[in-house]
Amino acid sequence: MDAGMIWEWIIKSIFLILFMTGGFAYVTLLERRVLARMQVRIGPNRVGKFGLLQPIADAVKLIFKEELIPAGADKLMFIVAPVITVIPALIITGVIPWGTSINLFGREIALSIANVNVGVLYIMAVTSISVYGITLAGWSSNNKYAMFGGLRSTAQMISYELALGLSLVGPILLAGSMNVMDIVQAQKTLPFALLQPAGFIVYFMATLAEINRAPFDMPEAEQELTAGYHTEYSSMKFALFFMAEYIKMIAVAMIGSTMFLGGFQGPFVDQLPWLGPVYLFGKVIVWLFVDIWIRATLPRIRYDKLMALGWKVMYPIALLNVFITGILVVLTTKR
């Protein structure tokens, strides 16, 4: 392992983190603009051209807000919780390939950070630890609304993780590998969304619940919980929760595009490897647009209905999908 290799990894990791945080800033803008259009408003358009500098104005505003820590709070946990929320969101896309490899400055550079053979399991593991930050934030605030938000989010995320994990088994079975790169290569002719429609839909709905987006945004239901788990947070600590939510949105869009929509695969990507990241980026934008569209369209569903949907509808469908896919894979494989 030479020094150039280590520098390559460091640069790629820093690029990913900067991309995700930058993406967060502009997804907030995209959401506000798109929501405004759908509600026949204009949305933020005063700061910069088309409101493009709005995220920077928001960041400056948030930095100058007062940092509050409630008197009865568990101080250490209260400060650590936003950090724990952001870190899994930032590292989860480390195994997603952006393309095959490109030639830059005379070096062959692979467009992925980590090409591990348990990539999908890594995604599941990071998803499963992302519940901690929200739970701890809810508990450490010493506020009953925050506490209920934290409890709800824990229950909701644990319930939907099952369906989420099982929906990812379909692509694993079809590709015969847990390596994300292999899964993308297996979708060269046909994206798995067409072979796995049930798995795709379950993945889409489960991720909406997992990242607490509408119509499953129970942990932060304003009308009943003031703001849910981040009621007591202000200034940059609040911004970190906000950031985690939007980064997770980008991350699940990236993972979903990779597992079900063919990732960086597209026309002419073999001849021009630079097109890989472009295709992935395009798919992610479309995915995010659909997320925002759903938020503008559907009302929040009731909490018990949400749990019933997770356990009694999505989980059995995902399980059945795994069985059927397994049987079909065994029957159609040539021996």
Partner: protein
């Protein structure tokens, strides 16, 4: 001392200190979180042993599932959050002697056993260990099919029992 050994020592220290803090801290929520850190240390030990699969599974099962459930249960029990009173009972001296004997005995055996002295070999794999071999071994009648199935039946029985216990209240009421 190689870099790997230094890394191992740091990880071992984190794991052991946080394991001790699980029983020494008075706040039950903090104890649960120290347990999480301790389990994370074990996952890191797997990672230093070049077993990415076990490291990830450790995080997924123990930290992602079991510890989350523990924390969920702890959040429901606010009024016994902070325990007061002595943290040890009368038998702590005997327990100390017993655990010291156990530790000394295990160390003596490991120090005299020549296989414990072997230097770790680098695993010749491209991107971590071969998971397909593990998967095939689990469904091979000559491999671990029977233990695997027995474990599955045990888990299924536990699941059925859990459902029965929670559904029992409704039945007695009617």
């Amino acid at each position: 001392m190689t870099t790997l050994q230094i890394v191992f020592l740091i990880i071992a220290a984190i794991t052991l200190v946080s394991a001790c803090l699980v029983v020494m801290t008075r706040k039950i929520m903090h104890a649960a979180l120290w347990l999480v850190l301790s389990l994370m240390g074990v996952a890191m030990v797997y990672a230093t042993l070049q077993s990415g699969f076990y490291a990830v599974v450790q995080v997924l099962v123990y930290i992602g599932a079991i510890s989350t459930l523990i924390i969920f249960a702890v959040m429901m029990t606010r009024n016994v959050m902070e325990d007061v009173g002595p943290q040890s009972n009368r038998g702590w001296g005997l327990a100390l002697v017993g655990s010291l004997i156990l530790f000394a005995g295990t160390s003596a055996i490991l120090l005299t056993w020549d296989k414990a002295q072997t230097v770790l070999q680098e695993i010749p794999a491209v991107n971590g260990e071969n998971i397909q071999m593990l998967g095939l071994a689990l469904v091979d009648p000559m491999g671990f099919l029977i233990p695997f199935e027995v474990a599955s039946v045990l888990l299924l029985a536990a699941l059925v029992a859990a459902i029965f216990l929670t559904a029992d209240i409704k039945r007695s009421r009617s």
